[in-house]
Every structure is written in C-alpha cells, then in structure tokens.
Point group: C2
C-alpha cells in the first residue's frame, strides 16, 4: 500500500497554457485501461530532459535523445505503458521512429519534432499496430485539463497516479507548474527515473531549461531507490510553453531563474518521493540523511548502502529496531570510516556512537520510531561538512509477490 500518498483530485491539477494532453485505451498489454498518451506543445515551447545511463537503454530513449539534440523544436511527446521497447534491437528502433512518424502526421509536424517514451516489460516486441490504431483517439482527446488522465495513462505497477501542481509569481506574473511521474519498481535512477514530465507556462531558453532539469533531477529523482535496479527507460522531461505573462528567462543570473528552478525542484522532489511512497510493496517511507561527510559522493555512498540493504529494508518492514544492520551497511559502504566518530539517529533517538550502542539508547525508543510509517535515519560522519538525503522504502512480501508475477 502506498505510504501516505493519494492521487490529487482531477481539479487540483492545473492546466498549463500551451500544452494539450490526450489519452487512449490501446490494449497494449491489458484491456480496459488507459495506456497511451500524447502531449502537444505550442510552437514556441522549449523542452529539456535527462535520460537513463543504462547501456541497454530503450529504443525510445535513443530516439528521444536524438530528436531533442537536433534542436528542431519539439512539438509532441508520445508515451505508452505496457511495453518498454527495450532490449528489442533494430526492430525496436524502427517501431519508436514509426510511432513518431504517425504522431507527426496526425499533428502536422515533423517526425523529428516528436519525442517517444515507453515503459513496461523488457525484451518483448512493441505492439506497433495497436499503438498506431490508438493514436487518433489520443489526438481526438487532446485538451489542457487532462493531466489527471495523463498521470493514469503512464502507470505500470503503480497503485497511485503521481501528479502535482504549483504556482509561483515571477516579477508579479503568475507562473504555473504541473508534473506527472510513474514508477514503482526497477527504481534506482541514474540521471532520471522511469518517466517524469513537468510542464510550466513560463518561457525559458532551452539551455537554461536543460540546466534546470538537471539540477531538479539531481536533487530529486537521483536521490531515490526502491530496489537498486536502474531502469532501461528512465526519462525526466521539462517543458516550458512560454504562454504565461511572465518575462522570458534568458539569463541564469536572473532572479526568476532561481525562483523557477526552486519550484521545478520542489515539484520534482514531490514526484520522486511519490514514487518511493508507492514503491512496490512499500509499507514505510524512509528518509536517509547523511551529514558531516568529506564530500557529497561519500555521503551518497553511505546513504545508498543503507537504502539498498535488503536486511535494513526487511527490518523496517517488520518494525523491528534491529539497528545493527544499519551499522553493518554503513560499514561496508566502502569509505575509510573511523566508526568511533560516527553517530546514528532514528528520528530524534540517538542509537549508536563510539562504535557501538549509545548508552542512552533504549529498545522501546527504537521500537516507537520503527512503528511509524514515515521514518528518518540520520548518520553523522563527523569528518567534513558535506550532506545528502536519499529516500527509500521498506522491503515486504508484496515486493516479491509483485515481481514474481509481473508478466502474468
């Protein structure tokens, strides 16, 4: 069950002027569910994105990366769930390109102006004919107030659709941001996670938009893990339609750049956390803060060692303060740690110091924290000033159940 997470009401998701969305039931893997999404962008819109670093990256990732780099001006995005079109060789590339051609012909733009995305099972042929057959329904459905359906149309094992809206003011003008994401398993992003789309009606020059999406991703999607498995299809896209009344952002020194970047990062962080809260089989949401490191890299090493440990994750599932497992994970993280100087906190409870259990630690205090559904682990390395935060979930029977039956 998702941990303290609900889908926002449809009317809580704010339309973005200059961006239309349309969904369809294309029967890609299962009948009677929305599984195809088209987004159409106003001509002046800018788009930036980051993609998975998995060497077996999916065919649509290869195509989207090329189309984005060509600088032609992106006019549409097309997303299917139910099939990842990854590990599909040359046929997979052809299918991704044909999908772009079909969308372009329906919307009256060039194929190179369309970005394709897929998510679902790996190493199975994309059912191209069903996608082509479904595209006209998507186009017929195109409208601005369709984010709620769009968030549902990209889900795989997600239980809850992930979406968030936010408004800020730039020099007196209102700017709106809405984002959606999907992902629940195979979540250990490296550059970006499964699929995330954030749009704003602000106007942002493309190089600045790229900088903004990289910044937001590093602070959000690149700080989460469900199972340590980096997907073949990860992509986070940031779209700026330029339809708000706010002045265009063309200079990173501009105060509006910082303000918008902070808002984008906030939306990305909420979406990334939503993915963890809806992590496959999750019953606990765990925030791991590592402070006092020599640099961020070593803080991340320690945080991810804890976040990935199946023993730590099953202890959280059991609400069992078997906290020696956290020490063990810190110990094998691969940094030349002096354990005498380390402090471990669970929420506000000091658990370990001087290389062992803290004198003040009481089992019942650990037990009290472990029974909560939102838990913070705080590790003080006390050898520098760097810090980082990583979000993860516990490891339950249901993770195994979901992944032992994913294809059926």
């Amino acid at each position: 069950m998702p941990v303290n997470l609900q889908t926002p009401a449809a009317d809580a998701l704010l339309p973005i002027n200059g961006l239309l969305l349309g969904t369809a039931e294309a029967n890609i893997k299962k009948p009677n569910r929305k599984d195809l999404l088209v987004m159409q962008l106003a001509p002046q819109a800018t788009v930036a994105g980051v993609f998975t670093q998995n060497r077996f990256c999916a065919a649509p990732v290869i195509v989207a990366r090329e189309h984005l780099a060509s600088g032609k001006g992106i006019r549409a995005l097309v997303v299917n769930t139910g099939n990842a079109n990854a590990g599909t060789g040359k046929n997979g590339l052809a299918s991704a390109l044909v999908t772009c051609v079909e969308v372009a012909s329906l919307l009256g733009c060039e194929a190179g102006q369309v970005l394709p995305f897929s998510t679902g099972v790996i190493m199975e042929e994309l059912p191209l004919e069903r996608i082509i057959a479904g595209l006209p329904s998507c186009v017929a459905d195109l409208r601005e107030d369709n984010w709620f359906n769009a968030a549902h149309a990209i889900m795989t094992t997600d239980i809850v659709a992930k979406a968030v809206s936010k408004q800020i003011t730039l020099a007196g003008k209102t700017v709106t941001l809405t984002g959606i994401a999907k992902g629940s398993g195979m979540i250990h992003p490296n550059m970006a996670t499964m699929l995330g789309y954030i749009a704003t009606d602000a106007a942002v020059a493309q190089p600045l938009l790229q900088r903004m999406v990289k910044h937001a991703c590093d602070a959000s999607f690149n700080c989460i893990t469900v199972d340590g498995d980096t997907s073949t299809n990860d992509a986070l896209m940031l779209i700026a339609t330029g339809k708000s009344e706010a002045l265009a952002i063309t200079d990173a020194q501009d105060a509006a750049f910082d303000k918008l970047q902070a808002a984008v990062t906030e939306v990305a962080t909420l979406l990334a956390q939503a993915i963890v809260r809806d992590g496959e089989g999750a019953t606990k949401f765990i925030t791991i803060k590592v402070e006092g490191g020599k640099n961020i890299a070593e803080c991340r090493q320690v945080a991810y060692a804890v976040a990935r440990s199946p023993l730590v994750k099953t202890a959280f599932f059991a609400s069992d303060p078997n906290l020696g497992r956290i020490l063990a994970a810190i110990g094998y993280a691969g940094i030349d740690l002096d354990v005498q100087h380390l402090k471990l906190y669970l929420n506000d409870v000091l658990v370990a110091e001087h290389g062992g259990r803290a004198a003040s630690y009481r089992e019942e205090d650990g037990q009290r924290v472990m029974q909560q559904s939102d838990i913070a682990v705080r590790v003080l390395l006390e050898r520098g000033t760097a810090a980082t935060t990583v979000w993860t979930c516990d490891f339950s029977y249901d993770y195994v159940k979901i992944n032992a039956s994913y294809r059926s």
Copy 2:
C-alpha cells in the same frame, strides 16, 4: 529450502590429526542448541586467515586479526553463535579478550594464542558470563571426530550444516582436508564470508598458508552473494596441523603447494556454494558466468549487477523467463558496453544478441530452463579474454519472512 544441499553424514567428515573440536549448549540466544565451539590445535600447527573489510567489523575480528599477526603460534579457536559482538564498542573488545583469556587458562596456553569468532545479532552486548560458563563443557568434549557437531554449533539462520572432507596424495602420502562454514543471510563477502574453517593435516609454512587461503577465498567465498549485505563478522581460517606424513610445504614452487592449494580451493568452493544453496529463502541456485571481458574487475561488475538485482532474483523465484531484467542489470553494471556485441545464454539457450532477443529464442526454451533448481546464466561480453563466475540464489517470500523476524 536449501537447493540440492544436504549435510554430510557424521562419519563422512574426516578427522584432522592434530585438531580437536568440542561444542556446548551455552544458552547464548536460544536454549537447547549447540552454540559454542572450541578448536584446539597441535603446537606445530600453522594458521592463516582473511577477514571482513566491513569498517564496523566485530570486536572478535579485531582481536583475531591482531592475535594472528602477532606470530605467537595459534593454539585454539573459539566460536559462538547467537551474538555477533559487533557494534559493541569497547565493552565488546573487552568481552572478546576475556573469552580468549578463559580459553587459554582452560587449555594451558596464552590468551594471544587464541582466536575468537562470533556470529549472530549485531549491536547487542555479548552474554559473556554464559560463554565463560559454557567453555568447560566445550573443553570436556574435545575430540578429533567432532566436525559434525562443530558444523552445527556455528549455525545461525542456516537450515543445513555445511561441511566437506577431501583427501589428496602429496608425493605418495595421504593428506586430509575438512572444512565447515556457516552463513545464509548478510552474505556478500568482501575478503571472506561469515565463518569458514578449513583444516588439513599437511604441514605448510605460515606465509604460504596465508597465500593459499587468500587464493581459495578469492575463488570461492568472494564469488558469492545472497543479499548484497557484507557481514561485520566474516572470517575464513585455514589451519595446517602438520601431522600427516607428507613433507612440509615451504616453497611455493613446490608441486605440492599447487596441489594442496587446488584442494583447499575446491573445499572452499563447495562450502561457499553450500552457503548460497542454503541462502535465506533460496529455491534456486544460480551460477553467473561472465566471459570475454577486458579484465576480471569488469566481469565481476556485470556478474554482481545480475546477482544482486532483486528483479532478476524474484523472476528466478517465479520461474518466469522475464529475461529482459537480466539485460537491464547488465546495462546498469557501470561498464561502457556496446550492447550490440553481447550474448546472453540461459544454460544452453541463446536468449539475446545484437542488442535484443535472439531470433532463435523461444519462450518455452527459457521456461524449461527457469523451472530447474540449478541454473546457469552466461554473459559473453566479446571484448576481451577475462572471465569470472559468481554464485547466487533467488529472492523469495521466505527471505523477507526470515529477515522480518530474525530477532524474535
């Protein structure tokens, strides 16, 4: 359930001349089970060992490493299960030292000639009084034909006791080897695994014995993973009592060195594989061979990415040939792979080539292999001549069950 693994019969385990073993029920964690083991060595015996690289290594690991390095000649080993004496700070160190003092006083040697070992729950105080109370029973029980009980006395979540014997001939003289090991979870060794003890009646100079144990460990315990968690207490010890009639091995150029090293490595490999076959919740034993790499390091990176992936491991549990998950794991292993040149086999079935599913691959062939309990994954990188093999098991409901209830 352990995968194709049984404890050998008590009389299949060969005594090692010059090594006595005694066990006791010391009530360390649970009543009515052997949980304490003393091994007494003949005066001329040499001992070598490798220990965990976990920075939160246990107090007994610190003490054993120091005593071994002091060169005083080791006369005894003492092992308790039920408590790891790790994450226990200065008190833990004192408890490990007191244990050595007690053993030394019972056996008439120096405390510095005793190596202590512990395994069990982390960050809980060692129940020193119970250990001290149990030691006289161990000493009263000392005998050569006691390996079967010794193998049982070091178990934690192990279902099956792990032990193996082997005889070889060195220049016409018979040499015997017997080894025992424990471990089932928190298995991702880095230098050695949980606890392994291999003894031979051969005579081997200590520096050569050290070289032999390092070689054996690198080819066995350092090639397995159950859950990716490196223990705080890993140790593999190799003991040579020098009681056989074979000539002492004092030169690594000696043919007998190679022959004994090969036998030690074989025993170590069988014990390491036994740990995986009895991996927590295991239903499948999986051999991952990576061939054609530029170097062994990158082969290991790929093999461990596959071996650690929860998605791959749950697919094996489900006997589901969802083999795209293996491609995804290879893809995120972190090497600059050209996926066009990679080939993936499941046993003798070619699954993937040219960046996607092999034209000859049939789902029913994958299904047939997945239903077996011993499965080989073979990855051909085709960019060099290096190769490696890693052994792992699947990920089942029972792994979660065992680790969500380990302390209770």
